[in-house]
């Protein structure tokens, strides 16, 4: 991984987690330019610092329900180029769908988006990779959400057209994996993965434009199904 120094705004109301993450990220060579505890301070910090990525806890004051989700949506609206990584003690498919649905309005240059279970901070390396992916405009979806979706076993019509292998590939795309990572996961060649991805895009009716954006759209289709 090329060590790009990321500028990060962190919104987390629990001090122990806020401080711990700030230190961990600093040790990994990233800048936490602001660490805040509520949605109001978050939007100020994002406006002031224009970070590469904002990491946002779902549960924040005042009601501790989904303030973080609302805050994430307003950050994306006001600062489309800022990547947003939402993390939560609980995974809810609906919250993920809401977040991702709000993600691609307007098009153009959009920041990445991610939704992770808070537990993922335990695997520091993976967590930082996810932050980097979001900062780079990628999509990161918690494997737990994908697992729920696969277990639910229901797909919208568009997704029903996908072959089983294409569905598997799409679930990894939704998790933010690169083509190379997907290739190694299935021990197939990157060229085959590209073929699958192209076929998925075609079947989902995604126009051939910016590749990253299409991957986000495909992930959203997957989530909303």
């Amino acid at each position: 991984m090329t060590p790009r120094r990321l500028r990060i705004v962190l919104a987390e109301d629990a001090a122990i987690m806020r401080d711990g993450l700030t230190q961990t990220l600093a040790r990994r060579g990233h800048d936490v330019v602001a660490a805040v505890a509520d949605p109001g301070s978050l939007s100020q910090a994002v406006a002031a610092h224009q970070p590469d990525v904002a990491i946002i806890d779902v549960r924040m004051p005042p009601t501790y329900t989904d303030e973080g989700l609302r805050a994430a949506q307003s950050v994306r609206q006001d600062h489309p180029h800022v990547g947003v990584l939402v993390f939560s003690q609980y995974i809810e498919t609906r919250s993920a769908a809401e977040l991702f649905a709000g993600a691609v309005k307007g098009g153009g240059e959009v920041g990445g988006i991610g939704y992770l279970l808070k537990d993922r901070v335990a695997d520091v390396g993976d967590f930082i990779d996810a932050i980097a992916a979001v900062a780079g405009g990628g999509t990161v979806l918690d494997p737990e959400v994908v697992r729920h979706l696969l277990r639910a076993g229901r797909r919208a019509d568009a997704l029903a057209a996908l072959s089983p292998r294409e569905t598997e590939v799409l679930s990894l795309v939704a998790q933010g994996r690169s083509n190379a990572a997907i290739a190694s996961a299935f021990t197939i060649s990157p060229r085959v993965v590209e073929k699958h991805v192209a076929s998925i895009f075609a079947k989902l009716g995604l126009a051939a434009s910016d590749n990253d954006n299409r991957r986000v759209l495909a992930a959203i289709r997957y989530l909303e199904s």
Binding site: I16, T65, E92, R94, K118, D119, V124, G125
Partner: protein, 381 residues
């Protein structure tokens, strides 16, 4: 009557006799008026009475048959009218008799002594007897009526007592209901607080701990240090992550945070994680209390789990509608049916849980399916 009487006198006597007698006819309906008329005729007899010029016997003092009417009317008065009225009637009769005797007795001076005494005794005795007879009838009647009134009063009192008891019982029931509602609401609030404490306390600390252990592990890996220490750190890291997952399940079992966003969102989240497609349709005008939402949510979760495990269904549905101030939740599936509340089983447990807030659970699950379980809950505990 003697032949010596003149024709007009005879006619007058006959007329008086007819009128006197006929007053008896109206005695039941108009006892006072009838008595008044009869007494007036009697008074007229005394005032203008025909005095027989014959020397003896005391013909004019003998009551005619018609004068018995006055006594009959006195009896009626005593029997059916209040005592003061009947006593006035008695006095009038006695006075009338006395005046009659006084008026006619001097004309028969020769026989005055015994005859006057006899007439006074007979008239007074008859009058008194009529009154006493009537009065005793009235007394019996009054006693019977009093007994009826007394019984009615006792009955009314008993009814009032019963009503008071009912009102007290209703009041008590209302109190108990309020207490139960408070207890249920408080317990839900307490559970929510516990979940929040877990979230803000143990879960956050454990996540921070897991993060640090992860870093330690990675540092050890990069430093190629002591293999044993790395092993320990890895195990600790794994344990911390598992504990984190356990804590999450525990907190979710205590109070699912998604419930804070309303029943529709919570049921939607449930359906999202179900192993089969579940359609959710929530139509309620008024949001029920948190306790009711929690009960509905846990029931739906249990029923969905049952559906997945036992029904063999390919799809299910959860619908919530308004049933006249109560919330109706129907959970259905197209599986094999045959669900029944086995003692100690999940359905029986759900039924008990629903009953704690005065709710009902009904099962329609014929062999071969489909299954429909309807839970009816009040808007508030």
């Amino acid at each position: 009557m003697t032949p010596s009487l003149t024709a007009p006198v005879r006619v007058l006597l006959a007329a008086v006799t007819v009128v006197l007698t006929s007053t008896v006819i109206a005695r039941r309906r108009y006892p006072v008026a009838a008595f008044g008329v009869a007494a007036a005729i009697g008074a007229a007899q005394v005032a203008f009475g025909v005095q027989n010029p014959a020397p003896a016997p005391v013909f004019a003092l003998q009551p005619t048959d018609a004068d018995l009417a006055i006594l009959v009317l006195l009896y009626t008065l005593a029997a059916y009218r209040p005592r003061p009225v009947s006593i006035a009637g008695l006095m009038l009769c006695l006075a009338g008799a006395a005046v009659a005797i006084a008026r006619w007795a001097p004309a028969h001076g020769a026989y005055a002594g015994n005859a006057v005494l006899g007439a006074a005794g007979a008239l007074g005795g008859l009058t008194l007897a009529a009154w006493v007879l009537g009065d005793s009838v009235a007394y019996r009647y009054r006693r019977a009526r009093y007994a009826v009134v007394e019984a009615r009063a006792a009955q009314l009192e008993a009814e009032r007592d019963a009503q008071a008891q009912l009102a007290a019982a209703a009041e008590r029931a209302r109190e108990l209901q309020e207490q139960r509602a408070r207890a249920v609401d408080q317990s839900v609030a307490r559970l929510r607080r516990i979940e929040r404490d877990l979230h803000d306390g143990a879960q956050v600390r454990m996540a921070a701990l897991a993060m640090m252990l992860g870093e330690i592990k990675e540092n050890l890996q990069q430093a190629h240090g002591d293999g044993h220490v790395l092993e320990l750190a890895s195990a600790a890291h794994r344990n911390a992550k598992e504990t984190l997952a356990d804590l999450r399940d525990l907190a979710r079992g205590i109070h699912p945070p998604v419930l804070d966003r309303g029943l529709a969102a919570a049921l939607g989240a449930l359906a999202d994680t179900a192993a089969l497609p579940v359609d959710v349709d929530v139509r309620t005008c008024e949001r029920p209390s948190a306790a009711i939402e929690a009960i509905a949510y846990f029931c739906a979760a249990e029923l969905l789990a049952n559906m997945t495990k036992h029904s063999g269904a390919s799809q299910g549905s959860i619908s919530i509608s308004d049933g006249g101030g109560r919330m109706l939740m129907a959970v259905t599936d197209d599986g094999g049916g045959g669900a029944w509340p086995a003692p100690g089983g999940g359905l029986a447990g759900l039924r008990e849980r629903v009953q704690t807030v005065d709710g009902r659970l009904s099962i329609d699950s014929p062999a071969g399916g489909p299954t429909s379980i309807v839970i009816e809950l009040p808007g508030h505990a």
